[in-house]
Symmetry: C2
Subunit: 340 residues, 2 copies
DNA sequence: GGCCAATGTGAGATCGATCTCACAATGGAA
DNA sequence: TTCCATTGTGAGATCGATCTCACATTGGCC
């Protein structure tokens, strides 16, 4: 339990100079004699000196830490992004502190509040609510750079990286319509309001552009977990005039639909066609494999990190809003509907 | 960009007392007049004062942050554990800093080195190597509590939370043998030396106890990714006298085996039986569902966090080594082998 | 009345790194 | 020879919270 703690003072003493000179030598600024500098560096090496980041942070006001607040770190989507962000930050000697909001606005507020007092340099955030965003506005006002990913919150002026939810959903439903489907169910979640709203809009726009009447009863809402999605699926397919196809708004809902349909003895794609939003590894393991709208997930994290690092470096430009296109990956979960 | 920064000084000034008195009122220690205390607290509230954790950390020497170094945060196993740890720490007002070693010892060394200078309070670590552990020993010597999970490293004296890898593997292979299999392949990884070694031992012990000769050529080694596991599977099943069953040492290898076998046109369980170590959501989506050895994953994270928090609270006892039992979950990926 | 304990409060030190400022050499130019 | 610019170095302040210590007040008690 020998708390080491080799401080600059120790190095300075070992090199027979003042703390000021030692600091100059190690950080190469100001005037330092060549020989002196060498002596200091040698001493630092010998003692295994490492600057105390906390002390540095106290002066500079900022720790080399970036906060990441995903909806849920267990969601592979966010896990992947967390990984990418961390790798990118690491290159710039920054650390990533992850605090999951669990899709709960109150928790999000508390987390941000507590991260705030840590003097964290910046935030990457997937806002839980599109409207309840005053706490984020407040945070931004205090000067901490923020990058929103996956979703955006109203009235917050900061960089954002999202995907084209509306277009992706539209493409998925277009595809189903092109295969003759007209009674198309939608499995959507309530919580991730921003993406859910946009995907719903895509669904509606597609129907409308094909002259199909929007039928409220074809929409089933649940929380975004596999379990809840199973129930929602069963609810949706228990009606007597059931849909011939479903579009699910995220990968957990897709999994729920898969299990729900299986439990009802409905087979894909013979009884029901399925397209899901968000690709996920499971999609290629099922039989048939699932047709999905894929997000460019590998680009989101690195880009978000890059935007944030630019802000940390002092870049002052108007907020940048990046919106990635999605891509329909056709597999085998959609069949042509034959007129009966 | 109005860097707020309401400090204790501001509060003290607003309440017309000294910083010392303000600190006493807010942290309730020492003697403070009731009325004075009230005035200070009221002022703090009004100004929205929050103690600067960095300044506190500089004095106390420690930030309320715990470092988590998993093998790979994208692995659902670690993502789940990260989530659980974070939730547990949050209750005690601690934050979780995640830095993935990506199963690379060198990276692990660098990470620990850089976390060290952050004055982090403690570490939860899945050591990449069982033998190359001097850097961890060093870290422990400096007084930072460490809890190892999933694997242990030699010569490091600290708490650990692992599962019964040897027993789990043995149970899996026993199960295959009980179904008549004698030529049982093993898909194992090279990197996670500790668990791989133990699971290999379980495989060997099971064979031995059933009088089956150990055949080196039935073992296929690869990195623990789906892609590499696919190749390893194909290698294993390309031999002319191929195995009738496989045991895979983790969920990524299991997925690789699934895809590899499918690409070779081999069906489960008719052509090949399969048991995997580690349950994963995908296992119940395939047809047939996969029989696995499940780890009590929901208990690992919370327990690790609890052990660490006890250490942080000053608990001084000999290192505790927890080893959870595994559980065989029988699904449909194993068939009885008929003598031909 | 005098004295000690209990109670309240503030000045200043501390944690470690860094920055400002003052001051000392040295050398070249006038 | 004198003076200023350049180069090199150290003393001390700073960041914000907390802790020690010293200094006031009170009140109770002999």
């Amino acid at each position: 339990m020998t708390q080491k703690g080799i401080t600059l003072k120790d190095v300075a003493a070992a090199a027979n100079v003042s703390r000021a000179t030692a600091a100059r030598a190690l950080n190469s600024y100001g005037y330092v004699g060549d020989e002196t500098a060498l002596r200091v560096i040698e001493a630092a090496d010998r003692l295994g000196y490492r600057a105390n980041l906390v002390a540095q942070a106290l002066r500079s006001g900022q720790l080399p830490i970036v906060g990441f607040v995903p909806g849920d770190i267990q969601n592979p989507f966010f896990a992947r992004i967390a990984h990418d962000i961390e790798a990118e930050l690491r290159k710039h000697r920054h650390n990533l502190l992850i605090a999951s909001s669990e899709e709960n606005v109150e928790q999000e507020k508390e987390l941000l509040e507590s991260l705030r007092s840590l003097s964290i340099r910046g935030f990457i955030l997937a806002p839980t609510s599109a409207t309840d965003s005053q706490h984020i506005v407040q945070l931004a006002r205090e000067g901490a750079p923020i990058v929103m990913i996956d979703r955006v919150a109203k009235e917050v002026h900061c960089d954002s990286v999202v995907v084209d939810n509306e277009g992706g959903a539209r493409e998925a439903v277009d595809y189903l319509v092109a295969h003759g489907h007209r009674r198309i169910g939608l499995l959507r979640d309530e919580s991730r309001i921003f993406t859910a709203q946009e995907r719903l809009a895509g669904y509606q726009n597609s129907l409308q552009s094909h002259g199909i009447t929007f039928d409220e009863s074809l929409i089933s809402v649940s929380r975004s977990t596999v379990e809840h999605a199973i129930e929602a699926t069963i609810r949706l397919f228990s009606r007597h005039n059931r849909p011939t196809a479903v579009f699910t708004v995220d990968s957990l809902m897709t999994q729920g639909a898969l299990l729900g349909l299986r439990s009802m003895g409905l087979s894909i794609p013979d009884d029901v066609s399925l397209v899901g939003f968000d690709d996920f590894n499971l999609a290629t393991f099922t039989d048939p494999q699932i047709t999905v709208v894929a997000q460019p997930i590998s680009e989101i994290g690195p880009l978000a990190a890059k935007l944030l690092l630019e802000r940390l470096a002092g870049k002052k430009v108007a907020p940048r809003h990046i919106r990635f296109p999605t891509r329909l990956i056709v597999r085998g979960s959609v069949s042509r509907l034959h007129k009966r």
